[in-house]
Each structure stands twice: as structure tokens, then as C-alpha cells.
Point group: C2
Chain length 352, copies 2
């Protein structure tokens, strides 16, 4: 038919059906299997045909169909990464660590965002698992029962990250937020502060912030100190919120001599507020945040904080997945990596 001749001559960009291995095999005069071998660098293929195939493939602009490939080989080089948010900076940094390690493997991360919503987490997880990834990296140890069941049933490596205070499904990489809270409390008490205020996010769903808070109050309680005031926020620009909350709290409870913020962003806001108001830091009032975000480097004074080891968490988690998918006898299971965050006293903690 004319039409066919046409199509063969110069595929009119539009109604051209997608290229397959067959097209490449015909163009290079070998079997589809050989083309497949060349494209995957697997098995014995002579240099001559290899070149011929590669050329034909490039010529046509062929892009392999991984869907078909994955189905046939029962192997998917994807790693599902499920995190609560991208606007927190914490998680992009974790992703950086994951990328770093996976870049040297055939594995590829796929990110899903839950917005701190367990229901959404479950949905996202279901979606991701339906692509049959080689592994899952998921933030937190708290998940819906259904989500836990899915993870257990998936039969793939699962690494829960960020937090080690709790029962992991399989492997686990993170820091103990409870301990982090305790450490900070100790440091603050040691510096001599006694009237301590806490400022943070509303915590029903931010389990890690909650655990830090619990560890924090636990140590204070042992010394007979109670949180003198507290304030919680939700949404909005964290920096601005930090400002506002600090103002509110200092007006309400002027005798405070220390403010512990559940993250560096609101802490930075508080710091800026104090400096604005001419409040002497850390003399009159001490401040500390949590996370060690890079941002802080540019502030007029260095906020005391605690590094959450974000990049390292990402790296370690990715390494576990990579090792387990590579190693023949899919060895391990249940790895547990607890990193130790260090206090960075900055300029706002020691009372000189």
C-alpha cells in the first residue's frame, strides 16, 4: 500500500507507533534477543554486531521500554522513597544522600510525598508498591496498620529512616529523637538556664518532634524543672512564625531565660526577633533549635542546634537497599543504624 511505503520512508512524526526492539532488530539485521543483549551489555555479542545494533538504535532514536523489561525479568530498578514533605529542607537533604549512593548502582529513587498524613502515606505507598520496587525507604516508624501490613507483605527491603525510637518493620536508620531532646535539655540545664519555654509545631502527627519534646521534658523533670511556657504553630512561613511566637511568649512570660525551638527555622525567627528587640542573647535569654540547617550560617549570630545527620541518614539507608539487592543471597535483614547527633552550641547557648 502507498501509506505503508510512506510511513517507511519518512515517519511523519505524528501517527508513528512507538519503536520496539523489533524495529531495531530489523534495522540492524539481527534478532530481537541480540539487540536486547547489546542494549543491556549482557551475554556474548561480537564487537561488530554490537556496533551495528547501537548505531541502528541511535539512528532510530530507540528508547527501551522498561515496563516490558521489568515485567519479563521480574526486576525493577526502582527504590520507593516516601517522605512527609519537600518544603522542609530536611528531606531534600536526605534525598541528596540517597541519590549520592544510588547513583553508583542501577537503582533509581522514586519519591512520594505524604504531607504528614497517614492516610495519604498509605495511599502513596500502595501506589508505589504497585510498581514493584526493589526496596522502600520510608520516613518514620509510625504507619497505619494497613501500611505496615503492605510493607511486610511486599517481600522487599524496607528501611525506615529518621527515627530509631520504636519498633522497625525491617531495617532502620536514624537518630534517637528522644535522646536528642534529653541531650539538649542537659546542655541547657548545665548552662544554668531554668525558666525554659518550648516553641514548636502542633505535634499530633510530627512524631519526631513529639519524641524530642518528651525526651526534653523528661530530663527537666528529673531536675525538678518544668517547661515554663509553650507555644505551637501550624503552617505559614516558619521564620515569621518564629518571630510572632517568640514575641507572644516573651510578653506572656517575661521571666523566661531560654527558648527551645523544635526546628531551626522558627528558632532563626526567634533569634532575629530578640536581636531586633535588643534582647541580649545568650546573656538575657538563650536559644536553641534543632536540625543544623545550612541557612543558619548566614544569621548574625549562630543559633545553637543539633545536627540531625540528614545526608548521612540518606546515604546509609540507600546503602542498605543497594547491598541487599545486589548481594546474591540477599543476606541481611533488620539492620539498625543509630547515628549520634552532636550539639552545636553556636553563640546562643552558653551563658558566656
Amino acid at each position: 500500500m502507498f501509506k505503508d511505503a510512506f510511513v517507511t520512508e519518512k515517519p511523519p512524526i505524528k501517527n508513528r507507533r512507538p519503536l520496539t526492539l523489533r524495529d531495531v532488530s530489523e534495522a540492524s539485521g539481527v534478532s530481537e534477543m541480540t539487540v536486547s543483549r547489546v542494549l543491556r551489555n549482557r551475554g556474548d555479542v561480537s564487537q561488530a554486531t554490537r556496533e551495528r545494533v547501537l548505531e541502528a538504535s541511535k539512528e532510530l532514536g530507540y528508547v527501551p521500554n522498561k515496563i516490558a523489561g521489568a515485567l519479563a525479568s521480574q526486576r525493577v530498578n526502582l527504590v520507593a522513597v516516601v517522605i512527609p514533605s519537600l518544603s522542609n529542607m530536611v528531606f531534600p537533604e536526605v534525598l541528596t544522600g540517597i541519590n549520592e549512593v544510588l547513583d553508583e548502582t542501577p537503582l533509581q529513587p522514586v519519591v512520594g510525598v505524604t504531607n504528614y498524613d497517614p492516610e495519604r502515606e498509605q495511599k502513596v505507598l500502595y501506589e508505589m508498591l504497585s510498581w514493584r520496587p526493589s526496596g522502600v525507604i520510608i520516613a518514620g516508624l509510625e504507619h497505619s496498620d494497613a501500611a505496615k501490613a503492605m510493607l511486610k507483605a511486599a517481600g522487599i527491603p524496607v528501611v525506615e529512616i529518621m527515627d530509631t525510637d520504636g519498633q522497625a518493620i525491617d531495617a532502620c536508620v536514624g537518630i534517637s529523637h528522644r535522646r536528642a531532646g534529653r541531650k539538649m535539655a542537659q546542655a541547657i540545664l548545665k548552662a544554668g538556664y531554668r525558666n525554659i519555654g518550648f516553641l514548636g509545631t502542633k505535634m499530633p502527627l510530627d512524631h519526631r518532634a513529639r519524641k524530642r519534646f518528651e525526651g526534653f521534658t523528661e530530663v527537666l523533670a528529673k531536675e525538678g524543672v518544668e517547661i515554663a511556657d509553650r507555644e505551637f504553630y501550624e503552617g505559614g512561613s516558619a521564620l515569621a512564625k518564629g518571630r510572632e511566637m517568640t514575641e507572644v511568649m516573651l510578653k506572656r512570660t517575661p521571666e523566661l531565660d531560654f527558648l527551645y525551638y523544635s526546628n531551626d527555622m522558627i528558632g532563626a525567627g526567634g533569634l532575629l526577633y530578640c536581636l531586633d528587640q535588643g534582647i541580649s542573647v545568650p546573656g538575657q535569654i538563650g536559644l536553641a533549635g534543632f536540625n543544623g540547617v545550612e541557612l543558619l550560617d548566614g544569621l548574625p549570630r549562630q543559633l545553637a542546634t543539633m545536627d540531625a545527620c540528614r545526608v548521612e541518614i540518606g546515604r546509609a539507608a540507600a546503602r542498605i537497599i543497594a547491598d541487599r539487592t545486589t548481594e546474591a543471597g540477599d543476606s541481611g535483614g533488620g539492620e539498625r543504624v543509630e547515628l549520634t547527633p552532636m550539639i552545636q552550641p553556636g553563640d546562643t547557648l552558653s551563658r558566656r
Copy 2:
């Protein structure tokens, strides 16, 4: 055999092969096809069987295999999103917009990060296209020839975002950075500033920053004004860099009366530096950034900036993809959406 009996009785979490439609169909006594129909809510199924199937499916913990589904139906509900970075905050916001829109469709975004490296972009794109997504959203108009070829050949909707100054492959959503640079220059000149310094990233690969710079200098030139000093940075904490660069520049060129920063983060650093030094802003020196990041709300003074419409860009891009994949006659092609960024003069531009 004993072993089989065992496996049937109580699948010992380990050597259990993954569940398939067949397992569900056997468990509920209908054909695989019927199960498939139920799970996808498609076609006629009686209420009775529907329930039976759903129960069996939940009971077993079945998760459909989208790989197989996609291959069979030749439909993949993924949208590839290719962006240069996640640590810039600009892109997470774009993603937010994309998510917002796609959440109401069956489509799902998959993110790839290029680190501003064209070669990496090409690789990431290749990877993504090999999953045969329903569409591509990609940042920028500048791509390697091979990347452009792939995009053209893919036969799917392609939306290039962020930038409208140039030739799009297919659709395009963004702002004109050249115009944004021009507008800012006009506003600065109008406010009476004449000794203007520019601070930004090293630009070989950040085409949008480059275009803003070009637009900016173009307008200045028309008025016979030349950039009095300039400074570029790379890597590190943007806030800290803003501080440092500002210090360096003001020491080198004390007669400057305005500093234009290529992004808000370094602008904020500069602002903090000026306030620290007791330099009167905007009296003695005016400042402006670019992007309208939320962060700025918390600063002691509101930095002049220009909203880059990030969330809206994400929304519009996603809408184009969604519309084209839904609509029967896959209508359009070549949509072009140019958004208009507005100057937010804040407290650092008008000379009172």
C-alpha cells in the same frame, strides 16, 4: 507434598511468591478478568461479586501490578517531572503546584533531578522516558540536542516550564526572565538609584538567571547606566554567601547605592549584613532580590523582590498535561502560558 500444604495453610512470610490476579480470582471464585474489572471500577459487575472480590483482595493483601497493567493497556499514569535541583525551594514549590492539580487526576508525578547538568538531564530524561510516561514537565528551554530529539520523538505532551524566552518543543509555561530583569531595572532607576551592583550565581548553566541579568543590563544601558560592580558565587549557604559578597562588594565599591541580587536568599543575607552594619536601607542603599520566597516574611525588613509565580507555573503545567491526556481527541499542542511576575517593593526599594 508437605511443603505445598504448608505454604497453602499459612504462607510463611518468606518464600511466598508475589500475589497475582489469579490468586484473587481463585479466592473469590470468578475469572481474573472480573477481578480486574472490580479493582478498576470498570465495566458491569454485580454488587454481590464486587464485594466478594474486594473482600478476597483485601484479605490476601493484594496489590495490583501496574507494570503488567501498563504493558497490557499501553497506558501509564505517570508524568515525568525533570528539574535541576531540590535544594532551591523554587522547585519544591513548583512540585506543590503540580501535585495540587494531578491529585485530582489518575496521574502521578515522578521527579528526576539534574543538578543543572545537561548531560545528567539527558540521562535522567532517558531513564524516565523508558517508563513511557503520559507526559513530561521539564524545567527550562535549553537542552542537549539529544534530549530535544528524545522529547520530540516521545510522542507525548511536553511542557517546558519556568522560562518563556526561547523556542519551546511543545507547550511552555513560565515567565519571561528577560522581562523580569527589565522591569526590576526600570523600578530601580525610577526610584532614583544610579550606582548599581549585581550579585548572583555563576551563570554558565543557570540560563534563567542569565536572562534576568541580560534584561536588567539592557534597560540600564538604555539609560546610560552601567553595572558599577558585580560578584558571583557558587555553592555554600546562600544566606552566608549573600553576607560575604555584600561585604566584599561594599568595601570594594563604597559609592554603590543599590544591590540587585539574583535570588532572595543571597538578598536576605545582604539585607542582614546591611542592618548589622547600621547601613540605612533603603535610604543609603537599596536592595532587591528575585523570587518572592516565603522565608522573607520573617526578616526584620521586607526585601524587594519579584514573584516568580512558582506554584502557579506548576499548576498550569500539570493542567496542560492532564487536559491533553484526558481529552479524547488529544486536542492541543504548543500551548504557551506566560505569567506576569509583579514587583513587590517591600521596604528596600523605594527611597521613601
